[in-house]
């Protein structure tokens, strides 16, 4: 009897055991399915955020061993850099240089580096690219309420433009003419985008795309392993009208064009790329220049230089610039020139 009873309990136990086993199996299968489901959706596992900074939109997309805190830190770094390079933010390095009355100013090493790059572009372009156009840019006010300044005002501003009056010694910058103004906007966004990209890559990002209002740095590849796809805006085209798409990984895509920040007045078309000889928007056969380079600041500076110098002189200089990958120039007559290693799809 005792034995029988023991036997029954053993049977009961074994039944329970089977149910338990079954549920364990069910849990296991469900777990596998969830895992498969998750890995199937891996292509959606990326973080992306857009914020309005630098007077434009800034989108940072990242994937890898990353979280939202990293995105926040990246935007914080961007704000920190803007607070160094901005011409309008009171107390920025550039603001302090411009308001130092000709005295030397101690700046952040990144500001000194950026100014030195700007001066190199000035030398390369024999002064056509000049970071001391600050006063002239302010007159035209392309970022605010643009207008055509009086000739006398333009001449007054032109007298302050000369990159040779900027002296950089270590982390000290001196703008000898107290009336002159440095404006780094032609190269700062590229520099910032690259700094952000480097920060992300050093902090767990396998791939990232930093887009500061159309200035782009691509780290690695997309989340699905294919190269990042960047469309090139068609000059004077509609929002969705593109010249084509280029595929990039570990590269920077920077554009300048006479179609950005421009206005029309009394039948005239005025754009923001100013000729430091005349004080007027430059007359060029290049309406847009897109550079694909390994370093963003080089690409950004050279995209402006290409518009300033025109296609022939730009082509002659282009392939010798460090980290050059390719370029797409759109000419006034509508021709599209591709140079170097670039395929427009």
């Amino acid at each position: 009897m005792r034995f029988k009873s023991k036997d029954t309990s053993a049977v009961r136990f074994s039944l329970k055991d089977e149910v338990a086993k079954f549920f364990l199996l069910l849990l296991f299968v469900l777990f596998i399915l969830f895992s498969v489901g998750c890995s199937d959706n891996r292509s959606d596992e990326r973080l992306s955020e857009t914020r309005l900074l630098l007077d434009t939109y800034c989108t940072i997309t990242v994937h890898g061993d990353v979280d939202n805190a990293l995105l926040d830190e990246a935007f914080l770094l961007l704000t920190e850099l803007e607070a160094l390079f901005s011409i309008t933010i009171e107390g920025s390095d550039v603001w302090r240089i411009n308001n130092a009355g000709g005295e030397p100013v101690a700046v952040d090493p990144r500001t000194a580096e950026l100014i030195e790059v700007g001066l190199k572009f000035s030398e390369l372009s024999h002064g056509m690219f000049d970071i001391t156009v600050g006063w002239l840019s302010r007159l035209w006010d392309f970022s605010g309420t643009p207008n055509v300044p009086a000739q006398s005002e333009i001449e007054e501003a032109l007298a302050t433009v000369d990159y040779r009056q900027v002296i950089v010694v270590g982390n000290t910058v001196q703008l000898v003419n107290p009336n002159a103004w440095i404006d780094l906007s032609a190269i700062a966004k590229g520099f910032m985008a690259y700094e952000i990209a480097e920060f992300l890559a050093a902090n767990g990002a396998e791939g990232a795309l930093v887009n500061l209002g159309g200035d782009i740095v691509a780290v690695g590849n997309r989340y699905d392993g294919s190269p990042w796809r960047v469309a090139l805006r068609k000059p004077f085209g509609d929002e969705g009208e593109w010249l084509g798409v280029i595929e990039v990984s570990w590269a920077c895509v920077l554009s300048s064009g006479v179609y950005q920040r421009q206005f029309e007045m009394d039948g005239g078309h005025y754009h923001h790329i100013l000729d430091p000889n005349t004080g007027m928007p430059v007359i060029s056969d290049v309406v847009s220049a897109t550079m694909i380079t390994h370093t963003a600041v080089i690409g950004e500076g050279f995209s402006t230089v290409a518009v300033l110098l025109g296609s022939e002189r730009a082509k002659a200089l282009m392939e010798n610039i460090p980290g050059f990958v390719g370029a797409v120039l759109v000419l006034e007559n509508g021709d599209v020139l591709t140079l170097g290693d670039v395929e427009l799809k």
Binding site: V19, F22, G37, D40, S48, L52, D215, V230, A231
Partner: protein, 130 residues
Amino acid sequence: MKTNKFWIFVFGGVVLVASVAAVLLWRTPATYARIYKDGELTETVNLAAGTEPFGLLVECGNYDTSGKNFNYLEVEHGRMRVSSADCPDGICIRQGWVSGGLLPIVCLPNRLVVTFDGGGSGLDVDAVAG
């Protein structure tokens, strides 16, 4: 008897697991549009929800001092666009329909950003240079 019960459980289990799997694997991924006004997330819209098109008035912006600037968003069949706005450049309107992907809808004057997650971009472009 015991064995039969076991196999009934197994069979039931397989049916259950298969149904769960079907739901998981064939579910269409929803695309969410997140609407930010001056950097603050104000609304999340499931673009796939419902079949009837609908409109969304977003009052925002401070490009002028009226405090009454607006963007009117239209949603239909999993996509969204700004159909009208009082911003001075109208760039947001010209951007047209967006159905997902990395390109946000941006209206700088009204400080409006709409980002998308899930779904495909349709355009298969991650950024626009220039």
